[in-house]
């Protein structure tokens, strides 16, 4: 390789490595700010080495699995509350509004709102998260024993008295 090319090669490589290193260091420093949401355990036990906990009144996002059997709807209104869990601690989310179609017990969700006490969040927005698995309904039923019923069908069936 001739000296001029070599010089350019070194210059370009050094420039990219330096800038890449700088961006990498920046992202590493901002790691916790890049996370979209707190998990229930992070909310209750704190984040990082210093165990920093969010303060009551703080606006935040919480993400976790909806605990089975925890969804409580207030009759004659859109008010709903449910519990979220990841690995242990449970956080309660209260919300008034229409839940996304994918919202189910056992589903991952992300809620944005205000921390009203240590384990309760008053949410202004609830988003559904889904995983990276795609399969036809028959396969899902055979492999995982999951049968997802859309809400529209669920209510029809309960009207007929097939579901308690």
């Amino acid at each position: 390789m001739n000296p001029r090319r070599q010089k350019r090669l070194v210059a370009v490589t050094a420039f990219v490595l330096l800038l890449g290193g700088a961006i990498g260091a920046m992202l590493y420093a901002l790691q916790q700010n890049i996370d979209l949401f707190y998990t229930p355990s992070q909310l209750i036990e704190g984040i990082g080495d210093k165990k920093v906990k969010p303060e009551v009144g703080q606006r935040l996002r919480i993400g976790g699995m909806v605990v089975k059997g925890s969804v409580r709807r207030v009759p004659d209104s859109l008010k709903v509350s449910f519990d979220l869990v990841d690995t242990g601690p449970i956080v309660t989310v209260e919300y008034e509004g229409i839940l996304p179609d994918l919202f189910r017990e056992g589903q991952g969700i992300v809620a944005q709102g205000v921390l009203v006490d240590k384990t309760t969040i008053l949410a202004s927005e609830v988003l559904a998260k889904h995983d990276e698995e795609y399969m036809p309904p028959e396969v899902a039923e055979a492999m995982k024993g999951i049968k997802h019923v859309p809400p529209s069908q669920l209510y029809k069936e309960s009207d007929k008295g097939q579901q308690p």
Binding site: V12, G20, L27, P100, L102, L127, Y134, M135, P137
Partner: protein, 254 residues
């Protein structure tokens, strides 16, 4: 070592040779691209089964995933061309940067728009500032930056050099996009097929996706050939071979 390894590529550094190579490849690439895109999308949109969870909405995957993957693939190719153009000062490599940038930008825009259209019914929102969505948006800005910088100098060669540098530096963003869903918690789910494990998608849905992926790759290659040809003609317009080419074309028409 380097010299002997890539010696076979040397003839293609000559604009005229590359122009004719692209011209020969173009009809095959374009024909195959149209065929695989039509096959993959009709198969995916009409014949593959609905998802157990998302129903028919998941079918946008047949456009979203290929465009997102190749928005990154196009960027890598552009950065490699920029690197060769900067270090070895090969002009056709520099022109390739200009040829690929707008195609990659459109792929990125398609990925972002189809992602938003998918996010609204499934997640409940068009957009959220999570790491995956934001880093893919940064990719769009990188493409636009490369295009803008290349045109921002009165001396074209200078613009290409600065744009190439930006293109190379932007490569840092590619691993960030790919690993964003692992490094941080995001609303966007993890990788379905681009991982060293069995794809987490049923084979009946995977095959049309793979065909569609191939289609987007072929389309990227075909459009790159098309644009590279016009870039070569533009930069070489005063050369005798281009004049001869134009004269012979005119002769055919008359």
């Amino acid at each position: 070592m380097w010299g002997s390894m890539f010696r076979w590529l040397d003839p293609y550094a000559k604009p005229e040779t590359l122009y004719h190579l692209c011209g020969r490849l173009l009809p095959y690439l374009m024909g195959l691209a149209v065929f695989t895109l039509v096959l993959g999308n009709i198969w995916g949109l009409a014949f593959s089964p609905a998802d157990y969870q998302q129903g028919d909405s998941y079918r946008i995957i047949y456009i979203h995933v290929p465009s997102a993957i190749w928005s990154m693939g196009a960027y890598s190719s552009m950065a490699i061309a920029a690197f060769i153009g900067l270090v070895w000062q090969i002009r056709v490599a520099q022109w390739a940067v200009l040829a690929i940038a707008p195609i990659g930008a459109v792929y990125t825009a398609i990925a972002l728009i189809t992602g938003a259209a998918w996010g609204k019914p499934m997640w409940g929102t068009w957009w959220v500032w999570d790491a995956r969505l934001t880093s893919e948006l940064v990719l769009l800005f990188l493409y636009l930056g490369v295009i803008a910088l290349a045109g921002a100098f009165s001396e074209a060669a200078r613009g290409i050099k600065v744009a190439s540098l930006l293109a190379i530096v932007g490569v840092v963003n590619l691993p960030i996009i790919h690993f964003s869903v692992e490094w941080w918690n995001t609303l966007h789910q993890g990788a379905t097929i681009t991982k060293f494990a069995k794809p987490s998608i049923d084979p009946s849905m995977l095959w049309p996706l793979l065909v569609s992926l191939l289609g987007f790759a072929l389309l990227l290659a075909a459009l790159t050939c098309l644009r590279l040809r016009s870039q070569i003609l533009m930069f070489e317009q005063h050369r005798p071979w281009v004049r001869q080419l134009v004269e012979s074309k005119n002769g055919e028409q008359n």
